[in-house]
């Protein structure tokens, strides 16, 4: 009795300390329960972290909207946090006058957006050549592509401005002037050509990144269709327009959103190319909003200034935001399929 009883007691103690893992169904139950609790905790943690950081991300937007609708009494009212008690559109009216909204909006679309569209079209053609054909000097061109991404615009803006004020390719115009004793001078600053000309040659704003995205995409397209087209006698343009372009809806969505956003927010180039206040795009005008409020409306800072500034920012952000809201589903899906990452 003694030994068997002791063995049973020992067995019970062992069962108490370390549960019997050799029983499969019980192990599975425990495993599933542990997984479920862990999964729930991870989900909660994830939502918390993402919401916290999401709050940081969206705070400027919400603050802009909220401040721009507040009436002046609400500024000094400490109980008003986000939702103003008296809605007012007066700040929007002030912002519209200070920003010279319609003119600047027209300028932005005329100069920047058209340049963006030209860039999207030309860069896709250039990238098709880089991706599909092998020619001597291609490695040098790929190196130049990386160089053009790395070198910032601000470094070369001064010589560009100097060149544009006296546009002269290879000194031809200077030669003509000397020979025929004329003084022709092409000055494309303050016109749209200062934006269109670089874009037409695929060296506009951030065009290196756009060419890179296109190149990665075209490298990932299957070659069979294009080879079939070549065999059937299609030349370069037919292959490009009939085969490559229709398949590239995905990458064109991605690239358009990037290009339009960058061109819309462009400040450094536009402020040097356009000296005349009437021709400023919206971004340049917005960055000078303090001065403009003082000049046009005699608002020298203070609460009215802050509210009008925020209203002006809302005006600036709204078109791009609307475009993004409409395209965002396609954009989020398309980024996965473009294959930027090779």
């Amino acid at each position: 009795m003694g030994l068997k009883g002791e063995i049973e007691m020992l067995q019970k103690v062992l069962d108490f300390i370390k549960p019997n893992n050799s029983d499969p169904s019980e192990f599975l139950k425990r495993y599933k329960a542990k997984k479920r609790i862990l999964g729930f905790l991870i989900a909660v943690f994830r939502i918390l972290v993402l919401s916290a950081i999401g709050y940081v991300v969206i705070y400027p937007m919400l603050s802009m909207i909220s401040v721009s609708f507040k009436s002046l009494a609400d500024f000094s009212d400490p109980s008003v946090l986000w939702i103003p008690k008296h809605f007012t559109l007066a700040h929007y009216e002030n912002a519209r006058i200070a920003l010279n909204l319609f003119t600047c909006f027209k300028n932005t679309i005329l100069y920047e957006v058209v340049a963006a569209v030209i860039e999207i079209i030309v860069c896709s053609f250039v990238a098709y050549g880089l991706a599909r054909f092998d020619f001597k000097g291609k490695n040098l061109l790929m190196f130049m592509l990386i160089l053009i991404i790395l070198v910032p615009d601000q470094m070369i803006i001064i010589p560009k401005v100097v060149n544009y004020s006296n546009l002269d390719f290879l000194g031809i115009l200077g030669l003509i002037n000397k020979l025929f004793d004329t003084s022709i001078r092409i000055n494309i600053l303050n016109t749209g050509l200062a934006f269109y000309l670089p874009s037409m040659f695929a060296v506009g704003l951030r065009s290196g990144i756009i060419i890179f995205i296109y190149t990665q995409f075209y490298k990932g397209l299957p070659k069979e269709l294009e080879e079939a087209a070549w065999i059937d006698g299609a030349g370069l343009f037919k292959t490009y327009t009939q085969i490559a372009l229709p398949s590239s809806g995905v990458v064109i969505t991605t690239v358009s959103i990037f290009a339009v956003i960058w061109h819309w927010n462009d400040y450094y180039l536009a402020v040097m190319y356009m000296n005349v206040t009437d021709k400023w795009p919206l971004a340049v005008r917005l960055s000078d909003i303090g001065n403009q409020l003082a000049i046009t409306l005699a608002i020298w800072g203070g609460d009215r200034g802050v509210a009008a500034t925020n209203a002006a920012c809302v005006f600036f952000v709204l078109p791009v935001l609307i475009m993004y809201i409409f395209l965002q589903r396609r954009f989020v899906k398309s980024i996965d399929r473009v294959g930027i990452t090779g």
Binding site: V49, L50, I53, G54, V56, V57, I58, Y59, P60, M61, S63, F125, V126, G129, L130, F133, D134, F135, L141, M144, I146, I148, L150, Q154, M155, I156, I157, I158, P159, K160, V162, N163, M200, F201, V203, L236, I261, Y267, Y268, V271, A283, L286, S287, D288, I289, A294, G301, G305, V306, T309, A312, F316, V317, V320, Y324, V332, I335, D336, T341, G342
Partner: protein
């Protein structure tokens, strides 16, 4: 017919060698002229709008440039502009130190933060599309102009000209610290830390998108193998996800560097622009070249270190 041709060639060739001499490099070389056609506008643009201005800008930084109505007059002074930038311009070295310091600490934090956020956003859960669109929003909204305006870099007098103003409105750290009874210096420290974190998160948008796209191109096979072999989540990240992301990381690093260098709220560039707008082109060229030379040096060191230590050389 085919073999006849081959036999004809063999009989015609000199020395009786069986190898037919090729006249061209095959279809690839024949098509190369199409490559040139495609790329030719870009080559022209590169030369006229990129390479030439770089040399001109380098030359300008050594000269005193005056833009008159007749054209451009440059008078060559050797290191005058550089001496002016360092010695006489009161703010330049301060701004340079601040900008380079900010770049040095923002750069790794942004990359790491984007990777962490991309890992979180890559898993399948219910609000995934909403959060992805949310994190891309700063690219559109908190762009340079808007951030500069909101953070008070304009002439709106009542806003305090620091990042801390928005940060203090967002999370009222000051009150929490007061309530906890800690001294005032800790409150200042926390406010600037929160402001710094906000600035970093706003700069993360495109990097998160790139990382997510990189993570989704890892074949599911690798993850399954890791799970079968019994790797924990931590090990799975370090041995499966992280090595496959090396190419994307280089891309993200280049992109982050460019964005940080040319951001709107960068004081050195603003200083150079005020010089530009007052038409003293030589001095502002010199300033820009100094700034970008330093940042370029840091970039080169980082990339070389990465190549030496981290990049696996099997392709």
């Amino acid at each position: 017919m085919y073999t006849e041709r081959g036999q004809n060639n063999m009989s015609k060739s000199n020395n009786g060698s069986a190898i037919k001499k090729k006249k061209h490099g095959g279809i690839v070389e024949l098509k190369s002229k199409y490559g040139y056609i495609c790329v030719s506008p870009w080559i022209f643009g590169l030369i006229v709008f990129f390479i030439l201005p770089i040399f001109q800008s380098f030359y300008f930084s050594f000269c005193d440039v005056v833009l008159t109505t007749g054209g451009l007059k440059t008078s060559f002074l050797l290191f005058e502009n550089f001496k002016y930038a360092f010695a006489e311009e009161p703010n330049f070295t301060d701004y340079l130190g601040m900008s380079v310091g900010k770049f040095a600490y923002s750069f790794p934090i942004i990359i790491i933060l984007s990777m962490i956020l991309a890992m979180l956003l890559d898993q399948k859960f219910k609000g995934r599309t909403f959060f992805r669109s949310l994190y891309f929003l700063p690219v559109i909204i908190a762009s340079g102009v808007i951030l500069g305006t909101i953070l008070g870099d304009t002439n709106v007098a009542s806003q305090s000209n620091t990042d801390a103003s928005v940060a203090s409105e967002m999370i009222n750290v000051g009150q929490i610290i007061e309530w906890a009874g800690l001294p005032d210096t800790i409150s200042m420290y926390f406010q600037s830390a929160v402001a710094g974190i906000m600035n970093l998160i706003w700069n993360c948008g495109i990097q998160i998108v790139l990382f997510i796209s990189g993570m989704q191109s890892i074949p599911d096979l690798y993850h399954e193998v890791a799970k079968v072999e019994g790797a924990t989540a931590w090990e799975e990240f370090w041995f499966v996800t992280f090595p496959s992301l090396s190419r994307v990381t280089v891309l993200v690093a280049i992109f982050t560097m460019v964005e940080l260098m040319t951001s709107q709220t960068d004081k050195v560039i603003k200083l150079a622009y005020t010089y530009m707008q007052s038409q003293s082109y030589g001095q502002s060229s010199a300033m820009l070249w100094i700034y970008f030379a330093i940042i370029g040096l840091i970039m080169a060191i980082v990339l070389l270190a990465y190549n030496q230590f981290c990049a696996k050389k099997w392709d």
